[in-house]
Symmetry: C2
Subunit: 490 residues, 2 copies
């Protein structure tokens, strides 16, 4: 009966996503603050694990964290024409403060290029001040009409990198470096394969010369933009007068980049790995790696079992694992199993009186196969070398998740040459990753979207998608240099 609380993906994918979040107790719709969410402890712990790993990567590549104001004078946004056009409709505006109406209204930052540009202009004077490599962990706000937990919310948490360089070349290297940092994080930590590519002019960040993206495939075949890295050129440098004296003694505008990932990644994680039983977490992001469920029928068995459970937990913790002993009373083991499964704990260890005698535990992985009787396959692990054996299985689980997600994406990817093949891929609410030739115009891109709801996700970078080869646009028959990636998207 309890199982029925999560709708199956086949039945209602959108409801499944919400149910997984609710049952794993990750987050909830704020309700009283339109479009916003509350991230509950289990969801926040996943975000913290992401932050910790990303922050290390940013620091290793020379970036330093800082804090800029939450509020931005409205006039700042107007200094970059494309930027204000892109963000103005989504702004939340502070008009009153300290009991008075403000002379100039502020918006709550939707992103911080403008306010950071203002300070970069104060801080940068010479080529010796460059590169300036800054990151900010912050909340931002975009007043969206249609919201969905983690994927699109009015307020969200993110990091935004902002850098300034003395040459365009160097800025472009930074843009690629940070995209690759995101890709490596997605692959190694999230166990989520992504396609790296270049956004079309139509999908580009408002104010950028070029936007690079990592795109993941969700289980319904739709794409999710998981992170972006922007070449801002000298656009913001000119808007905010960020100049430097170069080695030749001439003043020039700096070349800037910005790049960000957000709590949307928690949504990406859910939709990449979870199943009809609930959340599935890669060990590298799991707030709890192992749960130990003590099993006893009589009270006189209880103490010995609990003592052993806590001893094993302590040993595993000394190996750097996060371990929980579920000693709740008045709850049957089966109910505990169900509770931790839907919360995505990768490994469960069951420990009863017989296991104590045998000095072993029963190990059940979150995605254990079932035997011919439909029962989950469990393994007996000896107390000797338990840390080593648990570690091996968690590493294998991390790897398995990546391989499974990769196989899912490959199975859901097609290369097409005709408009018929193209439209067939998106009929009846279906989606997949479709590589097709495109003539390079926004007009055709929009016509394709109009006809199929598929959007141009990116022009794949080398090593992503099929080998580049020239061809003809599936829609117009005009020449095309390489196939690009189309998909429906979140």
């Amino acid at each position: 009966m309890a199982e029925a609380r999560i709708k199956s993906r086949a039945e209602d994918y959108a409801q499944w996503y919400q149910d997984v979040i609710a049952q794993a107790d990750l987050a909830e719709v704020a309700g009283v603050v339109k479009g916003c969410m509350v991230i509950k402890p289990h969801g926040y712990a996943i975000w913290e694990a992401m932050q910790k790993d990303l922050d290390r990567r940013f620091k290793e590549t020379g970036h330093k964290n800082a804090m800029f104001p939450l509020l931005i004078p409205m006039s700042f946004l107007e200094k970059e024409a494309e930027h204000v056009e892109g963000f103005a409709p989504e702004l939340a505006v502070v008009t009153h403060a300290g009991g008075k109406e403000l002379e100039e209204a502020y918006c709550i930052r939707p992103t911080s290029e403008t306010i950071i540009g203002h300070f970069f202009a104060k801080w940068i004077d010479s080529h010796r001040d460059l590169p300036l490599l800054i990151n900010q962990w912050a909340n931002v706000m975009r007043w969206e009409l249609r919201t969905r937990l983690f994927l699109r919310t009015g307020e969200f948490l993110w990091q935004e990198g902002h850098t300034a360089h003395s040459t365009h070349e160097e800025a472009k290297e930074e843009v690629v470096r940070m995209l690759e940092t995101y890709r490596d994080f997605a692959h190694e930590i999230m166990a989520m394969p992504v396609i790296c590519g270049i956004k079309s002019a139509n999908e580009r960040f408002a104010g950028a010369l070029e936007t690079l993206t990592i795109e993941g495939m969700m289980q319904d075949g739709k794409a999710l933009q998981c992170g972006t890295s922007h070449d801002l050129g000298q656009n913001f440098g000119k808007a905010f007068d960020v100049t430097f004296q170069n080695a030749e003694g001439e003043r020039d505008y700096v070349w800037q980049t910005s790049w960000g990932v957000s709590t949307r990644l928690v949504g990406a994680l859910i939709m990449t790995h979870s199943d009809d039983d609930g959340l599935v977490l890669p060990p590298k992001l799991a707030p709890i790696h192992v749960v130990i469920v003590p099993i006893y029928r009589k009270d006189d068995e209880r103490d010995a079992v609990l003592e052993a459970a806590h001893r094993i937990a302590k040993d595993l913790r000394s190996d750097g694992l996060n371990v929980e002993v579920d000693a709740r009373t008045g709850m049957k083991p089966g109910a505990k199993y169900y509770d931790w499964e839907r919360k995505g704990v990768p490994m469960r260890l069951e420990l009863g009186p017989r296991d104590l005698e045998a000095k072993s535990v029963m190990c059940k992985m979150r995605l254990a196969e079932t035997d011919e009787n439909g029962r989950a396959v469990k393994e007996t692990l000896s107390w000797d070398d338990l840390g080593l054996e648990v570690g091996k299985r968690l590493d294998a689980f991390q790897d398995f998740l990546y391989q499974r997600a990769l196989a899912m994406r490959e199975a859901g990817t097609i290369v097409v040459d005709t408009w018929e093949e193209f439209t067939a891929a998106f009929e009846d609410g279906k989606s997949s990753f479709v590589y097709a030739h495109w003539d390079g115009t926004t007009e055709t891109e929009l016509a394709i979207k109009e006809a199929t709801k598929a959007t141009l996700r990116c022009v794949p970078l080398p090593g992503n998608g099929p080998e580049p080869s020239p061809g003809k646009c599936v829609k117009t028959g005009q020449p095309s240099a390489q196939r690009v990636l189309f998909s429906k998207n979140y």
Copy 2:
């Protein structure tokens, strides 16, 4: 000449504080956003070090992090009468969003008791859901008229703990536990002694039954409230209908606490330890523990010195230290010394060709004494056991800072019995920690403030301040159970 950029404390204490911040490149006034600040990388790194240690302490005491909305419906604040009275004058208000005027305005959170109360009401149903122990790392906004970097700014970063309990007893234990957590952090990590005490009704958090505080003494003898822990009683429980079914099956309102420290602690750190040469940092919060300055006159000496510097840096890093090699060219060693001194790096190692021959380094601590010639005392340290010797000196430096701050506070603390003694302590802009009897009324508290500008900082908890003994109020002569702490304050 460069030295003159920091005003001495004796000359202009307020300017000294600003100069230390500017010269250490910690933060700056935002200017374009009224009363707000930008925290620059070196200042943010100190805050990150504070966060890391505090977060560990919060988790060890069973708290979990979460995220609640930045915006709070205005009507929420009005649900707790004292709370809205306390915070309404300082609110920043969002009236428009998504291009439209909002039906109900939101304020940017000045603190989150109200919005969290709303969600606690949804999450708590039974005594089994209690205690609920939540913490949030967040930005908050209070539109203040008079601001000062770190100490009082429109927007600031903080953590706010919010907990709910089934009994008042348990909530009161939590309030003390978290105050003691703050005290231990201040003593062990910030090297800053604090007085723990109870706030008077007049200084209490708006909506609390009781507020506990830690108060530090700054170098001008003024007090700084460094952290507070509140017993909210059932006030917010009643305002937001947060009820639970107790073990006897009856519904009751939960007992709540909240507690917080903020980026103000960076200001406290500066004003506790820094001197006329700039920032002084305790090693446990120093983003850089050791800077190595390579010294060479000829280019052919350069490679060998730099190679040794990097090798030593690598060794020290493997001991867990943050080490910087200052290999900047076109800058004399003296200028580098000055640069790192004002940034508060606890230890400098100088390394030249002769040191290479002797397999040693010259070690200079940030607060090294000067010899009879006025030169800083330096020590020769052998490359053998360097990590151990450096570690010892950093530990000793941490301890020295605490002892020095404690001695400063003791020297600036007096116990008085008469109004003449009391007023003398605050004449001519002076301040110190003054323990005096008080009759317990707000009327007298305000009269004392009016006459002397001294405020009642707290009623000290046992073990803080002089042994409690009864006496007569210095102002009214009415009976008093124990002396309380008065000081001017930030």
